[in-house]
C-alpha cells in the first residue's frame, strides 16, 4: 500500500530565505568572514544584530510571487521595476566549532564539520599537493578557513555594492585590533550579454526540484507553485512538467523526507532535530573556474571525432557541446530537440523541462489558474538507452529523472536532489580581446540540502565522476572531476555504434570551496549569537 502525498507546514519566519525560495537575484556578493579569537565576543554580538535583518522564507517567497506575477503581466516579459536586496548568513564547520561548545556543535553533520578539504578526493578533486588541489583554493584552502559566509543578493547593483561595503566596513571595524576580522569577497553577477546563461553559454538553473509544503500555515501558499491540472497524470507527483515534488526534509532539517530505499515517493521519515538544527540547511559552496576557450576547443575536437563516424556525418561543435550538457545554449533539451537548438523551446520554461528519460513526454494539462498555454514543440521519445541524450550529458548524470540507476528504481533519485543557487562570476570571454582566455571566470556554485553526503557529495562521487554510470558511457565532462586523470564519454551514433571521446583536461576547476550550515533565526539568536 502506498502512502498519500501530504503538504508539511513550513515555518516561514525561521528558515532563511535563500534555501527554499531562492533569492533569484542578478547580483550576489559572498563575504567569507574570518574572526580572530579576540574578536569572537564582538562577533557574536554582530550575529545577534544582523539576524533580524536577514531575509527569511516568508519575505522572499512573497516577493518572488509578486515579481513573477509582474513579469507575466508585463508586455515583453522583462523584469518589472521591483527591487530588493536580501541577506543570509551561514556558518562553516570551523565557525561552529569556535562559536559553540562541543556538546552543541558535535550534533551537526560530520561531513559539514570536517569541511570540503576532508572529502575533496571523494568528490574527485586532485590530491592535496597536486595542481588544482585544495591547497590552491582561493577560498577554503587548508589552514585558510573562514567562520561565516554572509550572502548579499539584490536586483540593484548599486544597492548590493553599498550593502557589501557597509557590512565589510562594519565587520573589519568590529574591534580595534587590526585584521582581527577579515573579509574575503567573492562576487557573482548575471551575465549582461546573456542573462541566465553560464560562461559556456548555456542557460543555467532550469531544472530545480519542486518542494512540497505550504508556507506558514496549512492554507498558506505552496513552497513551489503547482501549475498542472489535477487531471494531468503527473499531477500527484510533479509541481510542473519535469519538476518532481520532493519533501522539504530533503533540504531543511526537521521536516519529512523520503525514506531512503523506499519505492514510494510519499513514504517519509523525519530525522530527529534539536533546536540548534531545526529549520537549518547545509550549504555547499564551490568556486568553479570555467575554461571557456578550452570548452570550445574540446567541443570542436569532439565534433570532428563524431563527424568521422559515418552514421553521424558532419556534426558541429554546437552539437558536440549539447551532447556534453544535454541541452542547447537556449536551454532547449536535446531530448526534445535532438539536432539543433530551438530558442523558442528554450524560452519556454515549462516546455524546456517537460521530459523524462525512460518514458516519453506528453503534452501537459495545465491548471486554468496557471494561465500557461500548452506548447507545440515535438514531444520527447523514450530514451532509456541514451540514443538521443547521451548518458554522460551533464543534466542526465546529475538528475537521471525516471531512469533506473545503480541505486535501483528511478524514484530513488528524489533522495539526491539539491536546490542550486549558482551565479556566474568574471568577465565574458572575448576572443578578440588579448588575454581574455586567461581571465578568471566561472560559477559561484551554491546548493542547499539536508545532508551533504546524500546531496552534493553523492552526486559528484557516485554519478558525475563515475565513468561506469550508466552502462560505462563515461564522465560528466562539465562538472565531473577525476583528479588529474583523463576523462571520457561514449556517445551513441544514430546507427547505435559507439564513439569514444577523451578529454585530457579539466574544463571546470574548483578554485574554492566551503561547507556551511544555514541556521534558523532562533538558532542564530540563541546559539551562535548568544
Amino acid at each position: 500500500m502506498t502512502a498519500k502525498p501530504f503538504e508539511p507546514v513550513i515555518d516561514s519566519t525561521e528558515i532563511q530565505g535563500d534555501i527554499l525560495a531562492g533569492f533569484r537575484k542578478d547580483h550576489v556578493r559572498l563575504l567569507f568572514v574570518s574572526v580572530a579569537d579576540t574578536a569572537l565576543p564582538a562577533f557574536k554580538g554582530w550575529i545577534r544584530a544582523i539576524t533580524p535583518k536577514l531575509a527569511y522564507l516568508d519575505a522572499v517567497a512573497t516577493f518572488n510571487v509578486m515579481f513573477s506575477a509582474a513579469r507575466r503581466a508585463s508586455q515583453n516579459g522583462e523584469a518589472p521595476p521591483l527591487s530588493a536586496t536580501w541577506m543570509n548568513l551561514a556558518i562553516s564547520g570551523q565557525g561552529v566549532k569556535r562559536l559553540l561548545p562541543q556538546d552543541q556543535w558535535s550534533q551537526l553533520d560530520v561531513t559539514f564539520l570536517d569541511g570540503p578539504t576532508e572529502d575533496a578526493s571523494l568528490v574527485g578533486e586532485p590530491d592535496n599537493g597536486s595542481p588544482g588541489g585544495p591547497q590552491s583554493w582561493l577560498v577554503g584552502a587548508p589552514s585558510h578557513g573562514h567562520d561565516v559566509l554572509l550572502i548579499i543578493a539584490g536586483d540593484d547593483l548599486a544597492d548590493v555594492e553599498r550593502g557589501t561595503s557597509e557590512h565589510t566596513h562594519a565587520l573589519q571595524n568590529l574591534v580595534e585590533e587590526d585584521d582581527a576580522v577579515t573579509v574575503r569577497l567573492e562576487s557573482g553577477n548575471a551575465r549582461s550579454a546573456q542573462p541566465g546563461h553560464e560562461h559556456f553559454g548555456f542557460k543555467d538553473g532550469i531544472s530545480q526540484p519542486g518542494v512540497r509544503g505550504r508556507i506558514g500555515s496549512a492554507t498558506g501558499q505552496y513552497v513551489t507553485a503547482r501549475v498542472l491540472d489535477p487531471k494531468d497524470p503527473s499531477y500527484a507527483l510533479f509541481a510542473a512538467p519535469g519538476q518532481p515534488l520532493c519533501y522539504p526534509g530533503e533540504f531543511v532539517l526537521g521536516y519529512p523526507r523520503k525514506r531512503e530505499g523506499s519505492l514510494d515517493p510519499n513514504d517519509t521519515i523525519v530525522d530527529p532535530t534539536i533546536p540548534l538544527t531545526k529549520n537549518g540547511s547545509y550549504l555547499v559552496y564551490r568556486r568553479l573556474r570555467q575554461d571557456v576557450p578550452g570548452f570550445m576547443a574540446a567541443a570542436e575536437a569532439m565534433a570532428a571525432q563524431l563527424s568521422q563516424n559515418q552514421s553521424f556525418g558532419p556534426r558541429s561543435a554546437g552539437f558536440a557541446a549539447a551532447c556534453l550538457v544535454g541541452r542547447w545554449p537556449s536551454g532547449a533539451p536535446v531530448i526534445r530537440s535532438p539536432l539543433a537548438d530551438d530558442p523558442a523551446l528554450g524560452d519556454d520554461s515549462y516546455a524546456s523541462n517537460n521530459f523524462q528519460f525512460a518514458q516519453a513526454s506528453h503534452l501537459p494539462m495545465y491548471g486554468a489558474h496557471s494561465k500557461i498555454l500548452p506548447d507545440n514543440f515535438p514531444q520527447a521519445d523514450a530514451d532509456t538507452f541514451g540514443n538521443t541524450c547521451p548518458f554522460s550529458a551533464h543534466i542526465r548524470k546529475v538528475n537521471p529523472r525516471d531512469q533506473t540507476t545503480d541505486q535501483g528504481d528511478g524514484v530513488r533519485t528524489l533522495e539526491h536532489r539539491i536546490l542550486r543557487r549558482g551565479i556566474p562570476y568574471g568577465a565574458d570571454f572575448d576572443p578578440s580581446k588579448p588575454g581574455s582566455d586567461n581571465e578568471d571566470r566561472g560559477l559561484q556554485f551554491l546548493c542547499y540540502q539536508s545532508s551533504i553526503q546524500r546531496g552534493f557529495q553523492f552526486l559528484m562521487n557516485q554519478w558525475a565522476n563515475s565513468a561506469d554510470f550508466p552502462l560505462g558511457r563515461g564522465n560528466d565532462i562539465v562538472i565531473g572531476q577525476s583528479g588529474e586523470a583523463q576523462r571520457s564519454v561514449t556517445v551513441l551514433a544514430p546507427d547505435g555504434s559507439q564513439v569514444l571521446v577523451t578529454f585530457p583536461q579539466r574544463l571546470v576547476m574548483t578554485t574554492g570551496a566551503s561547507y556551511l550550515f544555514s541556521p534558523s533565526r532562533s538558532a542564530l539568536l540563541n546559539f551562535f549569537g548568544s
Binding site: L237, R259, A358, F385
Partner: protein, 365 residues
C-alpha cells in the same frame, strides 16, 4: 561455441567437465528463452553457445553491492550495515544471519580476530550453480577448489550432506567462510530469467508501453508473486529496464560468454588509509577475469576504523560493500534485426494487445 566457466575460471581439469558445464549453462539459457517463447514468435534473447555474438556491442549494467532493501528496514544506515554484517548461523539446515539479506548478487564473509575485530573480508559473486556442478562432476575437485579458494584444507565430507549431496550451507561457505552466493535470490537462473523476460515489450496498467518492467508478471502467467524481479533491489530494476530498452530497438541480445555476475570495482576515491598503508595492498581481486572474488585484508596492527571514506571511519564490511559495483554484461546486435512482438500487459491478464506508440507517464510505479 563452448561456454566458459564464470570469470574464465580454470577449476575444470578435464575437457569433459568443460563441455558438460557449457552444455549445462546452455540448457539454462535455453530454458530462459523457452520461458518467453510462448510470447514472441522470435526471441530476441539468444544463446551465445549457439549464436555468434562476437560482433555484438557490450554494455555493462552495474549496481551497488550493498542491499538497498535494508535501508528501508532500519532507521539508520549503521543499523543496516550491522544487520548485513551479522554472522551466519546454520541450524537444522536453515541459514540465518547477514548472508540471507545480502541480495545484490554480492555476499561477504568477515574474518575476525579473538577480540572480535575485523581482520579481512571476502567478497564473492560466484553462483551456487557453478559449485554444485563442480561437486557433481567430481566431489574431490570441488573440495580441492574449496581448499584453493579458502587456503585451508577442505575434504569432500566437509561440503557434503549426510546423504552425499552437495551442501551449499556447509560451514566453509557459511559460518567459517564464503565460496559462493547462497541468498535465495542470488542465482544464475534469476539473472538469466530476468534478462530474457525483460526483452518483451510490456504495457502498464493504463495500456501504455513501459520499460519499467521489473514488476511485470512473467510472460503468460498470472501467479501473484511471479514478478520478473524485485523492484526493491538495486540490481533487478536496472537490469530489467536496460535490457527492455535495448530490446525495444529490435536487437538480438544476450549475456555473453563468460556468463556470470562480476565485481566491477571498488570505488577508492576519498579513502584515507593508516600511515604507510596503500589501499591497493588491502583490496585484492583474487579470482576470476572478470572478478568473481575479492578480499579486503587489514594490515597487521591496523583496525578497520583506521580507514575512512570522505572522513567517515569505516566500521562495517557493509560500508565497503556500498563502494563495490557489481555488474553483468549485456551484448546486443544491430537495430531492427527482429520484429517486435505485440506488447503484453504487465499484469499478465489480457494478452496480445497491439504495440502502441504512447508510453507510460509515471515517474514511479
Amino acid at each position: 561455441m563452448q561456454l566458459s566457466a564464470p570469470g574464465n575460471l580454470t577449476d575444470f581439469t578435464t575437457d569433459e567437465q568443460k563441455s558438460d558445464w557449457s552444455n549445462k549453462l546452455s540448457t539454462e539459457i535455453d530454458q530462459a528463452i523457452a520461458g518467453i517463447s510462448k510470447c514472441t514468435a522470435a526471441s530476441q534473447y539468444v544463446n551465445p553457445a549457439i549464436v555468434d555474438v562476437s560482433a555484438f556491442q557490450r554494455a555493462p549494467i552495474h549496481w551497488v553491492g550493498f542491499p538497498k532493501l535494508l535501508y528501508t528496514q532500519f532507521t539508520t544506515k549503521q543499523q543496516a550495515y550491522a544487520a548485513a554484517d551479522t554472522p551466519s548461523v546454520v541450524d537444522n539446515g536453515k541459514l540465518s544471519g547477514g548472508r540471507t539479506i545480502q541480495d545484490e548478487y554480492l555476499e561477504w564473509y568477515i574474518h575476525r580476530d579473538q577480540q572480535g575485530n575485523i581482520r579481512a573480508i571476502d567478497f564473492t559473486t560466484e553462483t551456487q550453480k557453478y559449485w554444485e556442478f563442480l561437486y557433481t562432476a567430481n566431489p574431490a575437485l570441488a573440495a580441492e577448489s574449496y581448499s584453493t579458494v579458502l587456503g585451508v584444507n577442505v575434504n569432500i565430507k566437509d561440503i557434503s550432506t549426510p546423504e552425499g549431496n552437495y551442501d551449499p550451507y556447509n560451514r566453509f561457505n557459511t559460518t567459517n567462510g564464503i565460496v559462493h552466493l547462497v541468498q535465495v535470490n542470488n542465482t544464475l537462473e534469476a539473472e538469466l530469467d530476468i534478462a530474457a523476460q525483460s526483452t518483451l515489450p510490456r504495457l502498464d496498467d493504463a495500456g501504455n508501453v513501459t520499460n519499467d518492467v521489473v514488476s511485470c508478471k512473467h510472460c503468460g502467467t498470472v501467479a501473484p508473486k511471479d514478478a520478473l524481479g524485485s523492484a526493491g533491489r538495486n540490481s533487478d530494476p536496472t537490469i530489467a529496464q536496460m535490457v527492455n530498452a535495448v530490446a525495444a530497438n529490435g536487437c538480438l541480445l544476450t549475456i555473453p560468454d563468460p556468463v556470470g555476475l562480476y565485481i566491477q570495482t571498488l570505488d577508492t576515491s576519498g579513502w584515507s588509509t593508516p600511515a604507510g598503508v596503500k589501499l591497493a595492498d588491502c583490496w585484492k581481486i583474487v579470482r576470476g577475469i572478470p572478478a568473481v572474488r575479492a578480499t579486503f585484508t587489514l594490515p597487521t596492527g591496523a583496525q578497520l576504523s583506521d580507514f575512512s571514506i570522505g572522513g567517515i571511519p569505516i566500521k562495517y564490511a557493509g560500508q565497503i560493500a556500498e563502494k563495490i559495483s557489481v555488474f553483468l554484461t549485456a551484448a546486443y546486435g544491430p537495430k531492427g534485426a527482429v520484429p517486435l512482438p505485440p506488447a503484453r500487459p504487465c499484469s499478465g491478464q489480457a494478452e496480445g494487445t497491439a504495440l502502441t506508440k504512447s508510453t507510460s507517464r509515471r515517474m514511479t510505479r
